[in-house]
């Protein structure tokens, strides 16, 4: 049977996210409890988490989380890292072995910084240097797969039910200001940990529920800009699109949302002039990046989360608010289980982004 990346595997899913706007630390247990409630939306073939603000002691370093098939892949990858990065710290990621999580790869974590000489020679900005290095490891070193490479954030994922994955990675030992989680229901056996979600690039991570029908149009468009969709998953292509629009085109989150879940032309035509012109511009300038078909995503980034549905809202997603906390989930029960008394609970409309950032980010801007 073909593995993830050799074939496109559609899947259904559950997603959940939590953020504290004031930057309060949230223990990893909370997000595990939330996603566990939606057990039936996954089938044990993939679960994962992304935590933001979890590495305060190394907050200025890129945290690489890497799966290895064996020690030779690790040695080769470490030689590459040695040549291109300062490795400040490296270790195995601590896990709690369990009968529910099997076929474990070697899982390592590195806190690194690009070597200044290499960075200068590359004529790239630092983030581009890091992202290209990661793409190179993933595509060229057989048996090595970097699945997380942002600063002060980390992805934890495996083949299994999400609550078992959380337990395996000992998430109760991590505290962050924001978390996302994913439970996967693929229609095939991926059998490979890299195929689980979240999918991450630099500090962007995506959890996604849906099966987009625009996939190949999006893939073929984004691959023109130096990205390579090796996993053939929606999540991968959506992450690259977000990275391209935010980091390379410097669009705001809201404008990026107007590209990927663009309003209908009939809606655009009824907007006030300035807004109409902007939306027309965004939709005409990036037609290949419009995503259609069902999706609900939670994008994690440095300092915030964004929830977004496809423009017809073909996947469920609700938002809950309580004091400075914002909750996002496929189902209300996943919010109520960790916060029964909400100030507000609502369903965002299709294509309407819900953007939540740390209060500290707003004041600094």
């Amino acid at each position: 049977m073909l593995k993830e990346g050799q074939v496109r595997i559609p899947s259904g899913c559950a997603i959940s996210g939590i953020i504290s706007k004031s930057g309060k630390k949230i223990n990893g247990e909370r997000i595990v409890k939330s996603i566990a409630t939606m057990h039936d939306r996954s089938n044990g073939l993939g679960g994962g988490f992304a935590g933001y603000g979890i590495y305060p002691q190394y907050k200025d370093l890129y945290a690489f989380h890497v799966f290895y098939d064996g020690n030779s892949a690790r040695e080769e990858c470490e030689r590459f890292l040695d040549r291109h990065f300062d490795i400040i710290n490296l270790s195995k990621i601590p896990v709690r072995p369990s009968s529910k999580i099997t076929a474990e790869p070697l899982i390592w974590r590195y806190f690194v910084n690009p070597l200044p000489t290499k960075l200068t020679d590359s004529h790239l900005d630092e983030k581009e240097f890091v992202s290209r290095s990661v793409i190179r490891i993933n595509s060229q070193i057989d048996g090595a797969y970097v699945f997380s490479c942002g600063k002060n954030m980390g992805v934890f994922k495996a083949v299994g039910y999400p609550e078992d994955v959380g337990d395996y990675f000992r998430l109760e030992e991590y505290d962050g200001y924001a978390w996302t989680a994913h439970g996967r229901y693929p229609t095939n056996t991926p059998g490979w940990w890299g195929g689980a979600h979240p999918f991450a690039m630099l500090d962007y991570s995506i959890v996604h529920n849906g099966e987009i029908s625009s996939y190949d149009a999006n893939r073929r468009d984004i691959e023109m800009y130096g990205y390579k969709c090796t996993l053939q998953t929606d999540t991968e292509v959506i992450t690259y699109i977000i990275d391209y629009l935010l980091r390379k085109q410097k669009l705001s989150l809201k404008d990026a949302a107007s590209v990927i879940a663009a309003p209908f032309w009939s809606t655009i035509e009824n907007q006030p002039k300035a807004q109409r012109e902007k939306l027309t511009y965004l939709r005409s300038a990036f037609p290949g990046l419009l995503i259609t078909g069902p999706f609900s995503i939670i994008l994690g980034f440095e300092g915030g989360l964004m929830a977004l549905n496809d423009r017809l809202k073909l996947r469920s997603m609700v938002i809950g608010e309580k004091d400075d906390m914002v909750y996002m989930a496929s189902e209300e029960c996943a919010i109520r289980i960790i916060e029964p008394e909400l100030d507000k609970l609502w369903s965002p409309r299709g294509g309407e982004p819900v953007i939540v950032t740390l209060d500290s980010m707003k004041s600094s801007k």
Binding site: M224, E277, L312
Partner: protein, 501 residues
């Protein structure tokens, strides 16, 4: 000479029991295939003059007429077919080049018919176009590579000029001259009502039709017939015709018999003279020359209109398209070898060029590999026969399609392939006033609107089935296609998987 005698390929069959000698067939046939014999008090006919256009059949009030393929035959020979033999007799008799009209009719593979379309089941939902919005609007033109911001941090509108199409279908170039005034009027009015464009072809723009400028693409071909500053600024876009699918490598042909007063004035050539465009543009002998013409036209139109470069699908089409995309063109139109024509040498029509499906797939892929696909839009033509062909073309990578043969059929064309004779009984490919009158533009334009509207409904149904609610998300979405009965090589050129994969 007896050796030049050829038995007619099609025979007129008249049911004498039904014929009432009303002589409609006689009056309707510009080829004079029917006449009344007063002595015998019977209608007579000469099948040798019949072009099989069905005009008489359609108008016979008693259904007394039909046209059948003759069973008269040469001795069966798989190599020397009757067609080869007849053409040799004809050329031995005249010393001339064989002329034909409309697209390549030979039995080459039709790749549209070897591709199947996907639909959603269970894992994602089909979308119902009767209940949800379904968008087929397209903008054609170059896209900005980079978003720019003003000093206030607002997005600047750096979008080059675009053509807005309400449907991903345009009417492709057919010159005034090759087709009639009434045919042009029908196309222009239909384009306006549909929110799309028609194309003047290389014959200039009749003064009566300047008012349809917002829905007109004006063409500049190698003969430069009817090209002047007002003409260039009259339309919404300018198309440089480098080639045509029906006759790659040669210029246009308009027999002098069709060059009457109006046409002579519009084309700016003497009445009755053959309008033979040169094979190359005499100011374009290389790609850098094309770039200069592109920018000359942009200068002449103040950079307000997209420039289209139309080429025939030939072997090296991907590399040529890449050159054009870097040459300042906003849109590339590619015309496949089945594309129609009002007159072309038969041997060229039937043997030169490649299928549009393969050309499109190769061009789209090549431009993507070079990262310049968004510098241009791609429009394809050359036998788009139905909405399914449109959907497949867009899924392979086209932004929109050009139709012409289908449009003429909506106006009454029966594909008799005799346009070059100028005797079109349906009033389309003729300049004889009494024939032109037969095409009523009030009815003609409505039939064109009907056709495109019907196709657009079908496109929406098919898109909805795939779970796609915007045409942008179909463009280049090759996972939505599967090949059937294709070789590995064909699949790899089309960039699609085989059914079952």
């Amino acid at each position: 000479m007896a050796i030049d005698f050829l038995y007619p390929e099609y025979e007129i069959k008249r049911d004498r029991d039904k014929c009432i000698c009303c002589r409609v067939c006689e009056r309707q046939c510009a080829n004079e295939a029917h006449w009344y014999d007063p002595e015998l008090q019977m209608m007579m006919c000469d099948s040798a003059k019949c072009v099989n256009c069905h005009r008489c059949v359609a108008l016979c009030p008693t259904r007394a007429l039909k046209i059948v393929k003759t069973d008269h035959t040469f001795k069966e020979n798989a190599n020397w077919t009757g067609e080869h033999i007849a053409e040799i007799y004809r050329q031995a008799g005249t010393g001339g080049v064989l002329l034909s009209s409309m697209g390549n009719p030979k039995k080459y593979p039709i790749y549209w018919d070897k591709m199947l379309i996907n639909a959603s089941q269970v894992t994602n939902p089909p979308i119902d176009p009767l209940r949800e919005p379904m968008e087929t609007k397209v903008f054609l033109g170059a896209k900005p590579g980079k978003v720019e911001f003003n000093s206030k941090g607002e997005i600047k509108n750096n979008l080059p000029p675009q053509l807005k199409l309400e449907v991903p279908i345009m009417f492709s170039a057919m010159s005034y001259g090759s087709i009639s005034y009434n045919a042009h009027e029908s196309l222009a009015r239909a384009a306006r009502e549909l929110g799309t464009f028609y194309n003047t072809g290389e014959g200039g723009l009749h003064e009566d039709f300047y008012k349809y400028g917002a829905n007109t693409i004006v063409q500049v071909a190698s003969g430069r017939f009817g090209v002047h500053k007002d003409y260039l600024n009259a339309g919404a876009a300018i198309e440089i015709k480098m080639g045509q699918g029906a006759k790659p490598g040669i210029g246009g042909h308009l027999p002098g018999i069709k060059v009457r007063e109006d046409i002579s004035r519009t084309r700016m050539i003497p009445e009755g003279s053959d309008a033979i465009s040169p094979a190359p543009h005499h100011d374009i002998y290389s790609i850098e020359d094309l770039r200069q013409l592109v920018y000359s036209l942009k200068e002449a139109s103040d950079y307000k209109k997209p420039v289209i470069v139309k080429i025939a699908a030939v072997h090296n089409v991907a590399a040529i398209a890449s050159g054009i995309a870097r040459g300042g063109a906003d849109i590339i139109a590619i015309d496949g070898y089945r594309g129609g024509t009002g007159a072309a040498p038969t041997r060229i029509r039937d043997n030169v060029g490649i299928p549009i499906e393969l050309a499109l797939a190769a061009v789209d892929q090549r431009l993507r590999e070079e990262g310049i696909r968004n510098n241009v839009s791609i429009v394809v033509g050359g036998s788009i026969r139905s909405s399914a062909d449109v959907v497949k073309a867009i899924a392979l990578g086209a932004d929109a399609v050009y139709i012409a043969t289908s449009a003429l059929m909506a106006l009454g064309c029966h594909l008799c392939r005799s346009c070059q004779k100028g005797n079109c009984n349906w009033g389309i490919a003729t300049q004889r006033p009494e024939l032109v009158r037969r095409l009523n533009p009030d009815i003609g334009y409505k039939r064109l609107v009907n056709l495109v509207t019907a196709w657009n409904h079908e496109i929406k149904e098919i898109m909805g089935g795939m779970g796609i609610n915007s045409i942008e998300s179909l463009r280049g979405n090759r996972l939505m296609l599967r090949g059937i009965g294709l070789t590995e090589k064909e699949l790899s050129i089309l960039g699609i998987k085989h059914a079952g994969e």
